[in-house]
Amino acid sequence: MHEERYDIRIVNLVKKFGSTTAVNDFNIEIEKGKLVALLGPSGCGKTTLLRLIAGFEKPTSGDIVLRGKVINDVPPQKRNIGIVFQDYAVFPIMNVFDNVAYGLRIKKLPREEINSRVMEYLALVGLTGYEKRMPSQLSGGQQQRVALARALVTNPDLLLLDEPLSNLDAALRLRIRKEIKKIQRKLGITAIFVTHDQEEALSIADKIYVMRRGILMQGGSPREIYNNPKNDFVANFIGKSNIFYGKVVDADENYYKVGIDGSFFNVSRGKYGVDRDIEIDRDVWVSIRPHFLSVRRNGDSSSVNDNDNRINGNLNRGVARVNYIEYLGSYTKGELKLESGLVMEFELSHSSTEELDVKVDDTVSYSISPENIIVGDTIKGTD
């Protein structure tokens, strides 16, 4: 038998609570030493999946395989899994040292070893010198580090993190996210990171699994998920996007022509979205990222062409009215109303072009490269 490549495999996993199916026929495989993000909107079953893996819930059917062993009936105590919760769950009655030492004491390690390992892991999370503090004397971020050290110190096979950053303020969230990633790399531990924040998932994960209503929508590297969403749900959920529904009205070997409520767009085929052909007349979803819209003051159309003259003939272009505009320092964002009535968000980075100087109700010209529009025919809905 060859050595198992995956640290954890989840096979056809189902979990029902009465009539709600929290996890529905779930299959994922996670390679050793990878950090994967489990991403999805609130109530989609992320926590339930994590609790199934940790052993706090029994699967309705399916298997959880940890390092080649089915662990469905193994109690949580015997799974050797570390957990970090959103609410830290540090033991408020013990000081920092005792919190981290708890698992080692349960394992009845010798005193000396406990001391040295606790100190080692406190150093790892940057809490050296805090050993004697009680949790009530720590900030949220520090408590979360204690929880992290405590989860790691016992050398678990798998680390589970359930929205570990959600209770922290924005700045701290970015810092601890970076630290978690670094520590995970350094220790080479396999980790599952649950979040409903797509940016967090993109930034931290080797692989992202997007979940919706208990069902796996798509799994892949952050780049894949972002650039090549398999359906409208993923396209909408990962990164900002304008999602439309329309029909393929025409196609040649290079382009589809997609009609959306009277607007028509050329879309490069084969590059994104689907790997097989979409027939004419198929219903499709269309995703246009706001930053792929080029917007110019009306009359400056010459500069639009400069950027995109390679695919000049098929460039999607036209004029539109500015519905709404926001100046945000490094970029400007706003809403356009196309001539056909279609409303679309745009985002213009100020570094690439000079600042866009328009007001609400001004008329502007826009263009979208056919390569930057994604279509697909797997329609799931965006909520």
């Binding site: 050797n80 570390g82 609410d87 769950a89 708890y102 698992g103 009530s136």
Partner: protein, 574 residues
């Protein structure tokens, strides 16, 4: 105080608007008199009541007991301190044993009921809290029926060759105090268990800690403040009680009993109640503050939305249900035998009473005095304390710098009833109203029970108040409503459910009150509790049982009526 501010603002505002008329009316309406609105008069009355009948008597008592030591004309007997130390030690030993055993039983019981999924948890909780609505001394004489020289358990044990030791003394006291205080400990610990987030236990488990180990390394340390609180309640209740020592104490002398017996007896030394009262106040206050300090050290506030951990372990569930049921039955046995005894004739050396009869009830009811007196006390004291409770609740909520007064209103929680009784009699012994001695009129009894039971009612009403935001009143006031009107229209409807609970608690606490009544009942004003104590001391156990059952029935009827009213009220608003 707040209304004063808002009135000033109104005045100011209308002035700047100009207009002579408006200025005139605003001056009129914010005159000193209306600024001190009727609400403030209520506050004042409530403060005066508690000051006069609790604060001043207690301080008078402390001062006069201190002055005894400086009096040279009549020195205390030389063996006094030896005697005082002996009684103190007895009291503390009783308190410690009761506390350790009660809390020791309550913790596993609470764990099984709340976390290990025993069947019918609310049934066990309901049954185990029956002692809350009964006077303490019922468990005492039920203990005698069960374990006394001729008790049925004593008899059963004799059959298998075990001689049960005499229960008169420490043993009987500990048993009855455990029976009586278990609900306090149980409820406080259950409340504590509800505060432990599930995640904490899950983390511990995932680190390899077994379920049992999680309980004693995480769960029990976590509820340490609740355990201390439960211990404090049990300790103070058991050392302050005078009913049990009276009935089952034998020659075991405890502080509360010495206060009582020296106070009522002509042979007693009238200085002993004063000194001992001060002494027990010192012990209680030191204990409360010491514990408060310990609890502050470990106070953990943890916000969580995950619910508490519940374990689903089949054998624990099954055996747990069995154990909980067994303990519940054990604890209810006294009440069962009380019921049986109330219908029995002679019950000695037999498994059941010789024959069954209604005679006990007839005899007991024939003398309508005690029942009438108890009902009069219910209808005077309960409205008084509920009214005071509402006033204080509103006052502590809206006027921040009066919060410290709450330390006084809550004092009776920790002071034994006999101490309150002694302090009132001592302070007001020479006061006459309408040509009658205050202390020989029923007014003093009403006052004593009211003062003593106010904290229970106040706590209940405060719980209701805590759910209301002061901004609602500010809104009402900004719409021009006067203080009292604001309160009646906006606040009162919301606290109404707590007021009904407070009425129930008030009734229960008034009916079961014994210790202060023992000290100060004016001639002809013996209530049912006193009669029960009297019947027991005279050996009329079956009459005592019958009277106890009637008393429990009165509590039950009162509770039912109040419940009914509150339900009807809810329907009206629903």
């Amino acid at each position: 105080m707040e209304s004063g501010k808002s009135n000033n603002e109104t005045k100011h505002g209308s002035k700047s608007l100009g207009g002579i008329n408006e200025t005139l009316t605003s001056i009129g309406s914010s005159s000193v008199l209306s600024n001190l609105s009727i609400v403030h008069l209520f506050y004042l009355a409530a403060i005066v009541f508690v000051t006069m009948f609790l604060v001043i008597p207690i301080f008078t008592l402390i001062i006069s007991s201190v002055s005894i030591f400086f009096e040279t004309t009549r020195p205390l007997p030389p063996d006094f301190f030896g005697y005082m130390m002996k009684v103190t030690w007895n009291t503390i030993l009783l308190g410690i044993l009761t506390t350790l055993i009660t809390v020791g039983i309550a913790i596993p019981l609470a764990l099984l009921i709340t976390k290990f999924g025993v069947s019918m948890p609310s049934l066990w909780i309901a049954l185990l809290t029956v002692p809350l609505i009964t006077p303490a001394f019922i468990s005492s004489f039920a203990t005698i029926i069960l374990l006394g020289r001729t008790g049925i358990i004593t008899k059963a044990l004799k059959l298998i060759g075990i001689q049960f030791p005499s229960i008169y003394g420490l043993l009987g006291l500990v048993i009855t105090q455990i029976l009586h205080t278990i609900p306090y400990a149980l409820l406080i610990i259950i409340a504590g268990l509800q505060t432990i987030p599930r995640h904490i236990e899950e983390v511990a488990q995932s680190m390899g800690s077994s379920v049992l180990k999680v309980q004693y390394t995480i769960v029990i340390p976590y509820i340490y403040p609740h355990i201390l609180m439960a211990g404090l309640m049990v300790f103070l209740t058991s050392i302050g009680d005078v009913g049990a020592p009276l009935i089952i104490g034998g020659s075991y002398k405890v502080i509360a009993m010495e206060i009582y017996s020296n106070f009522i007896s002509f042979l007693g030394d009238e200085r002993i109640p004063l000194i001992f009262s001060t002494w027990i106040i010192i012990i209680s206050v030191v204990l409360v503050f010491g514990l408060n300090y310990l609890m502050k050290l470990t106070n953990v506030k943890h916000k969580f939305e995950t619910g508490i951990m519940k374990y689903d372990i089949k054998p624990v569930k099954r055996w747990g249900t069995f154990v909980v049921a067994f303990i519940t039955i054990l604890f209810l046995l006294p009440y069962v035998v009380t019921v049986i005894h109330s219908f029995g004739t002679i019950w000695a050396n037999t498994w059941l009473p010789k024959s069954f009869t209604l005679k006990n009830y007839r005899t007991v009811i024939k003398d309508t005095g005690p029942i009438k007196n108890t009902l009069i006390l219910i209808f005077t004291v309960t409205p008084t304390i509920v009214f005071l409770g509402i006033i204080f609740g509103q006052m502590f909520r809206t006027t921040r710098w009066f919060k410290w007064f709450n330390y006084f209103t809550l004092m009776p929680f920790v002071l034994p009833g006999v101490v309150i009784g002694v302090s009132l009699l001592q302070t007001y012994s020479k006061v006459r109203i309408l040509g009658k001695d205050l202390v020989s009129s029923v007014v003093i009894l009403i006052i004593a029970i009211a003062v003593r039971r106010l904290p229970f009612v106040l706590k209940t009403i405060e719980a209701g108040f805590s759910k209301i935001d002061t901004s609602q009143e500010e809104a009402a006031r900004s719409l021009g409503a006067k203080d009292l009107k604001t309160f009646l229209s906006v606040v009162y409807p919301q606290i109404k459910p707590s007021v009904y609970s407070a009425i129930i608690i008030g009734i229960v606490k008034v009916v079961t009150e014994l210790s202060s009544a023992l000290i100060i009942y004016p001639p002809g004003w013996q209530n049912m509790s006193l009669y029960i104590a009297y019947y027991v001391s005279e050996g009329f156990i079956s009459r005592a049982a019958a009277m106890s059952i009637i008393l429990i029935l009165i509590v039950g009827v009162g509770t039912a009526i109040s419940n009914h009213l509150s339900r009807r009220d809810l329907e009206k608003y629903a």
